[in-house]
């Protein structure tokens, strides 16, 4: 099949509204969110139904043409960006955005891949339920992408990663066949749990077209606090106590350093420091409860008072209103953007066994300071999950392009340290193309070979998102 006839075939399947072939219109689909990769697709295909996806994939499979699945295109590792060969099809799922149904009593919703996460959160809330997946890009990321990258975010501590929220999947396989695994069951032990293969596979094993997601009771009260601490070790002690006392009421536990806070205060004029004086580290702690009233706040206060008395923490402020709670959260949420305003930086998305995080931070900080004097550490993240965004900003006054050259040696120091501490070099962002080579240094050849065996078994022609993950 010639290229021309492939696109003609696809046009027949998806109609003119579903096919973009003009390079002038490629930009939003050909570049990743961080503008790190610029690809050149053969075409962008926007199917409107599972049947259309299946026919497009089958057509591409017959032509041995590579497919790059794409959702809201907010990924951070370039998994949804085509290469520059001009030979890959971007399969954008955004038109598949129907909420197929909510079953409140079953605590499930059935959604298509192109649904924007925030819209699904809202639909769940209108049905009196919580869809707990929550992350910075929620206003534009799409659930198919969230599942394909096994997204994390701020609610993992209590509700797990995206993977834990999935009961069923519908997937178009590399052959173009549709696997209907859209079950809404809490328990199903009838063979291999195939959906697990596609979650987190970043589109290399098939195209997720729909999913059944778990919903939860809507919290009826919340307590949000900013806590000041001497160091991350103290934060771990507080985490241990908060978990022990609050159990699953503990829905947020985010660490950030005073340097993170200073960047937010510098670049966001509306942001307010939580305390009259500054402290070395902070924790944003949130409790949620299905019971209304003051229970969550009283519990938060009692945990923090005891911690203060025993000098685990230095100070604490419990939000007195929803507005103040949002202001506290924004201190944490604005860090990424504030750091971007400050200039280029070298980002890491790592996880470490929780008990060893403090040790990891001090050992790696020291090593970086020795090898790259003056670098400024922007250390923050989901401490409750052992997940740090351990970012490195250049010494003040360094030219951006000079610092960019140091990313390889800095990555090496950070990731080698992560490996020594038994951690992961990609906690919640995936591998995509960004860390595809890097992971070979840290994963055993046996594990890489197992992954390849799965890949070859499901996608023998290698048409699904080549050049990503593996």
């Amino acid at each position: 099949m010639k290229m021309r006839s492939l696109l003609d075939e696809i046009r027949i399947i998806v109609g003119p509204a579903g096919l973009i072939t003009s390079p002038h219109e490629f930009a939003p689909y050909a570049t990743d969110w961080r503008k790190r990769y610029v690809g050149k697709p053969l075409a962008v295909v926007r199917p409107a139904s599972t049947a259309e996806v299946a026919r497009v994939v089958r057509t591409c499979s017959e032509a041995r043409t590579a497919i790059v699945p794409q959702g809201g295109n907010t990924g951070l590792c370039g998994a949804a960006t085509p290469d520059a060969s001009g030979s890959q099809i971007v399969l954008n799922l955004s038109r598949m955005n129907r909420l197929r149904g909510i079953d409140a009593r079953n605590n499930t919703m059935t959604v298509e891949a192109g649904c924007v996460l925030a819209n699904l959160q809202k639909a769940a809330e209108e049905a009196g339920r919580l869809l707990p997946l929550s992350l910075a890009a929620e206003g534009s990321c799409e659930i198919g992408g969230n599942l394909s990258t096994n997204a994390g975010g701020t609610a993992v501590l209590r509700y797990g990663n995206a993977r834990e929220l999935v009961l069923g999947l519908e997937v178009v396989l590399p052959s173009g066949e549709i696997w209907d695994g859209l079950r809404g069951l809490r328990k199903d032990n009838t063979g291999y749990d195939l959906k697990q293969l596609f979650i987190g596979a970043e589109g290399t094993l098939g195209v997720i077209t729909a999913a059944v997601l778990k919903l939860f009771p809507l919290p009826k009260s919340r307590a949000t606090a900013v806590v000041a601490l001497q160091n991350p070790e103290k934060a771990l002690t507080l985490l241990d106590r908060a978990l022990g006392a609050c159990g699953e009421r503990l829905t947020g536990f985010e660490l950030f350093s005073d340097f993170c806070l200073s960047l937010v205060l510098k670049h966001f004029k509306d942001a307010a420091a939580p305390f009259p004086r500054r402290f070395p580290h902070y924790v944003l702690m949130e409790l949620s409860d299905t019971q209304p009233g003051e229970g969550a706040r009283t519990l938060a206060e009692s945990v923090l008072e005891a911690a203060l008395e025993e000098e685990v923490i230095l100070d604490a402020a419990v939000a007195q209103s929803e507005t103040q709670a949002r202001a506290f959260w924004s201190l944490r949420e604005f860090i990424s953007e504030a750091q971007a305003h400050e200039g280029p930086n070298i980002k890491h998305d790592v996880s470490i066994p929780i008990a060893r995080i403090a040790e990891f931070i001090s050992a790696t900080d020291a090593e970086l300071a020795r090898a790259h004097p003056g670098v400024r550490m922007v250390t923050f993240g989901h401490l409750g999950d052992g997940n740090l965004h351990y970012n490195v900003s250049p010494p003040e006054g360094t030219a951006p392009d000079v610092f960019a050259n140091e990313s390889a040696p800095i990555n090496r120091i950070v990731h080698d340290s992560v490996a020594r501490f038994g951690g992961s070099i990609s906690a919640e962002h995936g591998l995509g193309q960004l860390k595809r080579e890097e992971i070979r240094r840290y994963k055993s050849p046996l594990e890489l070979e197992l992954m390849l065996k799965i890949k070859r078994a499901l996608d023998p022609y290698g048409i699904m998102n080549p050049g990503k993950v593996l």
Copy 2:
């Protein structure tokens, strides 16, 4: 390699203490827990370390000799029982029973496959943590088997199936290679989540030798209630309300019919009826809280009072002591044994989308009554998970062997009904050999083919537990 030399090789690996070749000693390893299958192994091998397992598997792989992994041998579908050919090796993991470590601050424990579940629960509790996996066989089942069957049990509502409790695995692959995936991370998105393949695979893809399990804060208070209801529909309404009000404090929600209660009262002389009069159905409801004191009990009482007022429930008794709470639980837990005392019965382990369970029960009850007049339904199970043990006892006076002949048509009625309601014919027990043929009626050929592709990719010689699952 001749058979003789295979066993000689294995003896060199595991030593005389690790090899049983005398048929007189085979019995405990060659028969399943329900005595449904009697196999005849070539030998029973009991390795004491991962290295020994690896060498045994490699030796068997080279000889193309089939391996049947086995833990506590308490499985309900015959997955751990060899066939009668005399050519299969039973690989019993019970000697691999070391607790490799508990990391309380990371909320994890690292355990070997042969650890008895109850011992692990106890070790976690001694470290101030909860290992929530809990099921009838916990005194003798082993964690490797629990993970290989993705065991369910009574705590799934709150803590998930065995799968959800696993952070990392160590697996001996069919080649005899050791995959070290023993990570203790909450987040790790560096490629395919391989551990998911081995969980619930019933030993057909490799041998789980060790695991990192999640631990949770220890509850400090509990409330246990027996609730009387008119019908399962009302139980669903109560579940909805209890979840909405109690959220994750709701740790148990078990349904049983009055006939179940009558069997328990008949066969367990110490069992006491929870109410002065009898009602059509009951729910065993449990709340747990990390906060000490009366909070859980007060909350349970307020939920039940409101439900009584609005005629969702007919009566309720909240346990006034730990002793009474245990007595309430035993009413639920003794059902299986009571039914066994009553004579043979036809068991089903099904799940249904929760919202449709009541409808499923009445439709299937009616169909069975039409086709098999006089059958007595022993309906109970984990309603909070949509999981019913929907068992059928013969009409009174039926000879056991006569009723046994009706198992195929009765299974057909029940499982066809499950399929119509979008359910699963094996919620928590797996397929093993018992449901290996049955599942072909209900799973799509595409899904079966996907499973086969995975099997062939990982176990090309088909030596891992042949005749099970697939």
